[in-house]
């Protein structure tokens, strides 16, 4: 490079750096000039452009985001000592520090300037999860389902609650109007008395009648085959309808099931589908057995029975899909165990069942059917559903809108010219279901003798709760004026109030987190806390503390965080944070190939997610340090996962803490089956995406995206070559090598795990290979794969440290507790503040991390430090 260009460039660089940096800088001018000339420009000039970096053409305008991030990378490489390369002459520590400090100063200054110019956008609307939870808590309707009625949110910087991702358009507005209408329909009581609370015993026999007929299930009485309807043997039972009319499926017999759910078989409890949205109590009785050609014997252990809530469509004839899993319940050997749960049901919700821990076995096509079958079965004695449960009437949702105003019959003749509230009569549309709505007569609605005074009083209660902050008299008056206008136009009181409630739920005060620009006020702080830990609005106590100005008190704030984490609602934080930080939401993005992974099941997948959530909860509760993110001496397991991981002595579907045998690589997030599944594609694994995942999500160093026009590797599972061999070609290319040297090693270590997180020493293949050992795979599952080439899980970190296997790699990672904790701090900060962490946030994060480390480095401590920090209290 010509000397003159170089000199000119350095002059410009200095001008920029010094102008933006500290004023007392001129003394170092010569030093900076010397630094870049002697350490950087030989390689990063216009001719050589090493690593694609040409410092002479790199812009110096730090208000440009691309240029800014380039300079951040230069700063980081210098600071970490990665640059200048080891082979070149090194600057001494003083020179290096002086240079990075100067760069950092300029970068922070540039960010501050951008922020002062109004560049940081932070006012943001609720995400759809936040919206749903806020409605649930505002109205006390704990399970009302709204998320799927709203358009999907975008996501930025890894989280969907980020201001950058939360745009709004007419589409969102239209859906908010619908959602508000739906909410108000559910919230407003339309009768003066609650619907009758009934207890209904629901049989599964009718729904599974066809599989009872063909031997995939049997009727049992007193733990023996029901003599009135013996197990199908040489012949199947014909004419299900005739048996049904004889009442054989309705005489309280238990149903023993051998068949797992599948594409064409989704058992559910046919006789009940909820009419009244609300809380219900469910009790179910399960046990398990070993079936030996007609004999009921003790089972192999505690089996898992799954209950789900199924949202039926239309008349239910087309079935439904399991909307969500209610739980996996113990089905112990022979002795019936009764389980009880309370659940919110929506209109047309029914209960589904699955013999979750059984292999997908079918008898209908086999000779001798049930009478020739030997194997495990799960029995359901009965399911009771009781509800809707109402402690008070009208219910809290109605009271939130209308307080204690009386509900009276609306007689048209008494109110000439007044529009009555619209009511649609409730119908049981699901066929074959026996529960029916209560008979009703007349139209009932709230009555007010002094509508405008009542409107003012009710809105004075509702608006501040809905808007999560005090509402001025002036604003309330605008709402009351609308009530007056609607009454004038002929609406009854309920309709007029409904108009303003809908407006409130569509207003920006409800839909947005309204926060002051710099320091959060008390109410904004209360909201930040509640959306962090509950993904929802503050409760009464938080609001009171905010109102009295006490929330900022260090001790009170600490106690509140503890209280919020103890509350059941904090599960929303665990689920939502992990769903995004560790991408758990993507757990079902790929179904594993059935031939390669015949042992995979929905039960295993649900257990994986449960493990990761329970593990995070354990880290929080026990305040464990960040090395546990990647290495642990315990794991959170149930029997299914324990078998999957090769851990002994765990029985039943409940997740519990299990001490791991010495040398087990399990426990930390790094080696949990959920993470290993999410980072694979269902058929094959590749070190690249897995390595990138570890770097981005656990280490906080997202690798740059691949350069354009590089062909991806075409996966091949015919067994001829390993991914490592295919990748070697890639890595030998100099352009690819620098990034892959960082990205691949974690992925290499994780090659010890297959696409469902099982440990492997050899790749599975279809086609070539040896016959596999069965190991822990259920004996009823045919082994449809072969064993191909051996796995090589060794590698070398960019700094030269080597590892032979996953255990050694875990030790290398766990040694950097500081890095792991810093990344977690950053992730939590992004999640809790709803904005990206920038260069200037590094220092505050560093200080809260080091404060945490001084107290033992626990993750709960980290959360407290974050909540107490300036970062959390500022927008």
């Amino acid at each position: 490079m010509r000397r003159s260009t170089k000199a000119r460039w350095i002059a410009t660089l200095l001008g920029c750096l010094l102008a933006a940096g500290t004023s007392a800088a001129s003394a170092d001018e010569g030093a900076v000039r010397e630094f870049f000339a002697s350490h950087c420009l030989d390689c990063h000039n216009a001719d050589t452009q090493e690593g694609g970096l040409d410092l002479t053409s790199l812009k110096l305008n730090l208000s440009d985001t691309a240029t800014f991030s380039r300079w951040v990378r230069i700063h980081d490489r210098l600071k970490s000592g990665e640059m200048p390369p080891k082979t070149a002459a090194q600057p001494n520590v003083v020179e290096r520090t002086a240079m990075t400090d100067r760069l950092a100063g300029s970068l922070i200054e540039a960010e501050r300037a951008a922020r002062d110019a109004g560049g940081r956008t932070v006012v943001r609307r609720l995400t759809r999860e936040e919206y749903e939870n806020t409605i649930r808590d505002l109205f006390g309707m704990s399970g009302v389902a709204l998320v799927n009625t709203l358009p999907a949110d975008g996501s930025a910087h890894g989280f969907d609650n980020n201001a950058d991702a939360l745009d709004i358009s007419h589409v969102n507005m239209a859906k908010y109007m619908e959602a508000a209408d739906h909410t108000l329909d559910l919230a407003i009581a339309t009768q003066s008395q609650p619907p009758t609370c009934k207890t209904q015993r629901v049989s599964m026999a009718r729904h599974v009648g066809h599989i009872l007929g063909n031997g995939d299930a049997v009727l049992l009485r007193d733990k023996q085959p029901d003599p009135e309807y013996p197990p199908a043997g040489e012949h199947s039972h014909i004419d299900q309808g005739a048996h049904e009319r004889l009442g054989l499926f309705n005489r309280g017999s238990s149903v023993g099931v051998f068949r797992h759910e599948g594409e064409s078989f989704h058992p559910y409890f046919l006789e009940f589908a909820a009419l009244y949205p609300g809380r219900y109590r469910v009790r179910a009785s399960f046990w398990s057995f070993h079936w030996d050609k007609g004999r009921v014997l003790p089972s192999r252990g505690v089996e898992a029975a799954r209950l789900s809530v199924v949202q039926l469509q239309r008349n239910g004839r087309h079935g439904g899909h399991p909307s969500y899993v209610l739980g996996y319940f113990d089905a112990p050997s022979i002795d019936s165990q009764v389980h009880e749960v309370e659940v919110w049901l929506n209109y047309k919700d029914a209960f589904g069942f699955n013999a979750a821990s059984l292999a997908p076995v079918v008898n209908y096509s086999r000779k001798g059917r049930a009478m020739a079958f030997v194997g495990p079965g799960i029995a359901c004695d009965w399911l009771d559903v009781e509800g809707p449960l109402h402690d008070v009437w009208p219910p809290p949702a109605h009271r939130a809108l209308f307080g204690d105003l009386p509900i009276v019959e609306f007689k048209r003749e008494e109110h000439p010219g007044v529009a009555p509230p619209q009511r649609t009569s409730l119908k049981q549309e699901i066929i074959a279901v026996t529960n029916r709505p209560d008979p009703t007569s007349g139209v009932w609605t709230v009555h007010s003798d002094q509508p405008l005074q009542d409107a003012d009083r009710l809105l004075a209660g509702f608006l501040p709760r809905a808007f999560r902050r005090p509402v001025s008299d002036d604003v309330r008056a605008q709402y009351v004026a609308k009530v007056a206008e609607r009454l004038e136009a002929g609406d009854c009181f309920e309709l007029a109030m409904r108009w303003v409630y809908r407006a409130a739920l569509c207003s920006p005060d409800f839909l947005y987190h309204v926060e002051p620009a710099e320091k959060l006020d008390d109410y904004a702080l209360a909201s930040r806390l509640s959306y962090f830990f509950w993904n929802s609005m503050p409760d009464e106590r938080l609001t009171k503390l905010a109102a009295s100005g006490k929330l900022r008190d260090e001790q009170i704030l600490h106690d509140e965080v503890e209280r919020m984490l103890r509350d059941d609602k904090s599960q929303r934080f665990v689920d939502n944070f992990l769903g995004q930080w560790l991408k758990l939401r993507k757990i079902a993005a790929n179904d594993p190939d059935r031939k390669l992974y015949p042992e995979f099941s929905a039960y295993l997948q649900d257990s994986m997610v449960a493990e990761t959530r329970a593990y995070f909860r354990e880290l929080l509760d026990e305040n464990l340090d960040a090395s546990h993110l990647v290495r642990s001496d315990f794991a959170m397991l149930n029997e299914k996962l324990a078998a999957h991981y090769g851990v002994e002595g765990v029985s039943g579907p409940q997740i519990r803490r299990v001490e791991l045998p010495k040398g087990s690589p399990r426990g930390g997030f790094l080696t949990q089956a959920s993470i290993l599944k999410i980072t694979a594609n269902g058929t094959t694994t590749s070190p690249v995406p897995r390595g990138a995942f570890v770097m981005e999500h656990l280490l906080g160093e997202p690798p740059p995206p691949p350069p354009p026009n590089v062909a991806a590797i075409e996966p091949d599972v015919r067994g001829a070559s390993t991914i490592r061999e295919q990748l070697a070609k890639h890595r030998s290319d100099a352009v690819c090598a620098t990034c892959h040297a960082k990205m691949d090693p974690p992925g290499f270590a994780l090659e010890s795990f297959d696409v469902i997180g099982g440990f492997r020493e050899r790749y599975r293949s279809i086609g070539e290979g040896d016959k596999p050992e069965r190991g822990k795979i259920d004996p009823f599952i045919p082994l449809s794969f072969r064993l191909g080439p051996a796995v090589d899980a060794s590698g070398e970190l960019p700094d030269g440290r080597k590892f032979d296997d996953i255990r050694q790699f875990q030790d290398l990672l766990a040694a950097d507790t500081h890095g792991l904790l810093t990344n977690l701090a950053r992730q939590l900060a992004v999640y809790s503040t709803g904005r990206a962490m920038t260069f200037s946030d590094r220092q505050p994060i560093e200080s809260l991390v080091s404060a945490t480390e001084k107290q033992g480095g626990g993750i709960r401590t980290l959360i407290h430090e974050l909540v107490q920090s300036e970062l959390f209290h500022t927008r």
Partner: protein, 414 residues
């Protein structure tokens, strides 16, 4: 009006009769037929999201004399009515499955943090010509997930798609009685009045916000105003009778495994929507996630066979749709002559998650078809250029859209 015979049982033997002559609803100022309006130009944009096996899609040879590939063979009767493209993709659109959001937007790098989508082709057109029909556009999907959509607003918000053919039928053809219409109109009015109110509330908040936050709140205000305008337009349409069709409402197929049958059902509804001029801009997201597993075929022959079978049946469904459009005529031209059918996918190879060399074709709509436009496989030609050509064909005076650098080279209008 010409009759058409549908394949599906519910269509069997039932001709489609329209109560309204075409375009009458849109030009009340003129007597029906007194002056021919401009030729209605339409677009149906379809994406399947799990790739299309390139080895069976791309033909050999370029230009007019190319040799039909196995998949294109399924469309052989319409060879002269479509153009197949190779060596095309959206510049900068990467991110494997994430790219499914960008098929009609062409927005680069959907996988990156801070990604914000751009406006989709159909919505871009709807802003200009959407007011000509009852529905400015129809956003449809055939999917188990309610997030599947091809259409995005100007600020990148996804437009939820209608996934049920029977709901679509209701929306297009079923009108309530007078009281119901009146109630609907009143509801629309109340909706507008409420939007007006909340719009004012946002102005109050504006005063307390910093400049950048004000921009954010402006977005809310714009959303409110846009919706208000839409409700206003709907109110106008509410008084006009919906077209009547002599076709039974369809019965939805719930089983996602039957995605080919589901596609056919959706195609039948789309054809009715076009024929009745209910909308001229339609997007359809065909979600084939049920076969996601086998798209990671790892080159296993039996898996490739299974996948090929599914994909061939999809092309048969498309052929059926083209047939229906060909056999229905409007003012002496076939519907296909006036309807562009874009069919493509966001992945060049699902096995390797590649987002280049996208299998894509365009049928009908008034172009000189019958050719294979082959571009550079290593250095792809922007697919967004095709979109500019399509916008111009729709009558929009624009020479840019998304990442386009011009119109599609080698594709001429009739």
């Amino acid at each position: 009006m010409a009759k058409s015979l549908g394949r599906r049982s519910f269509l069997r033997g039932a001709g489609v009769c329209l109560a309204l002559p075409l375009l009458d609803a849109m030009r009340p100022a003129f007597g029906a037929g007194s002056r021919p309006g401009p030729v209605p130009r339409r677009m149906v944009a379809i994406q399947t999201n799990m790739g299309i096996l390139p080895q069976f899609f791309f033909p050999e040879g370029a230009g007019r004399d190319y040799k039909l590939s196995p998949y294109l063979q399924r469309l052989a009767p319409y060879r002269d009515q479509f153009t197949v493209f190779s060596g095309v993709s959206h510049p900068g659109v990467t991110g494997a499955h994430a790219a499914e959001k960008c098929f009609l937007t062409g927005t680069p790098h959907p996988e990156r943090g801070g990604f914000r989508n751009w406006i989709s082709l159909d919505q871009f057109a709807a802003e200009e010509i959407g007011n000509q029909t009852r529905y400015p556009s129809l956003t449809l999907a055939m999917s188990g997930e309610n997030t599947a959509t091809l259409s995005y607003t100007r600020n990148g918000a996804p437009i939820p798609a209608e996934r049920s053919p029977s709901n679509l039928y209701q929306q297009l053809f079923v009108q309530g009685d007078a009281a119901e219409v009146e109630a609907k109109v009143e509801a629309l009015r109340q909706g507008r009045s409420m939007l007006d109110f909340v719009g004012e509330q946002s102005k109050r908040l504006q005063r307390r916000l910093s400049p950048s936050d004000r921009q954010r709140m402006d977005q809310y205000f714009t959303a409110v105003r846009n919706l208000e305008q839409r409700l206003h337009t709907s109110e106008g349409w509410e008084h006009k009778p919906k077209p009547q069709v002599d076709v039974q409402p369809p019965v939805d197929i719930e089983d996602n495994q039957q995605f080919v049958d589901k596609s056919r059902l959706m195609f039948d509804m789309i054809k009715l929507a076009i024929e009745t001029d209910s909308s001229r801009l339609i997007s359809l997201f065909i979600d084939t996630t049920v076969i996601h597993n086998i798209t990671h075929h790892g080159n296993r022959p039996e898996v490739l066979d299974e996948l090929r079978g599914h994909e061939e049946r999809q092309f048969d469904a498309l052929a059926g749709f083209l047939k229906d459009l060909t056999e229905t005529s409007e003012q002496g031209e076939s519907l296909l002559d006036r309807t562009m059918v874009l069919y493509g996918t966001c992945m060049g190879s699902a096995n390797s998650h590649s987002n280049v060399n996208l299998p894509t074709l365009l049928a009908g709509g008034g172009f000189r078809h019958g050719r294979h436009l082959a571009f550079d496989k290593d250095n792809n030609y922007p697919l967004t250029n095709l979109y500019v050509s399509m916008l111009q064909r729709l009558g929009l005076e624009t020479d840019s859209f998304s990442t386009a650098t011009g119109t599609m080279s080698g594709l001429e209008m009739v």
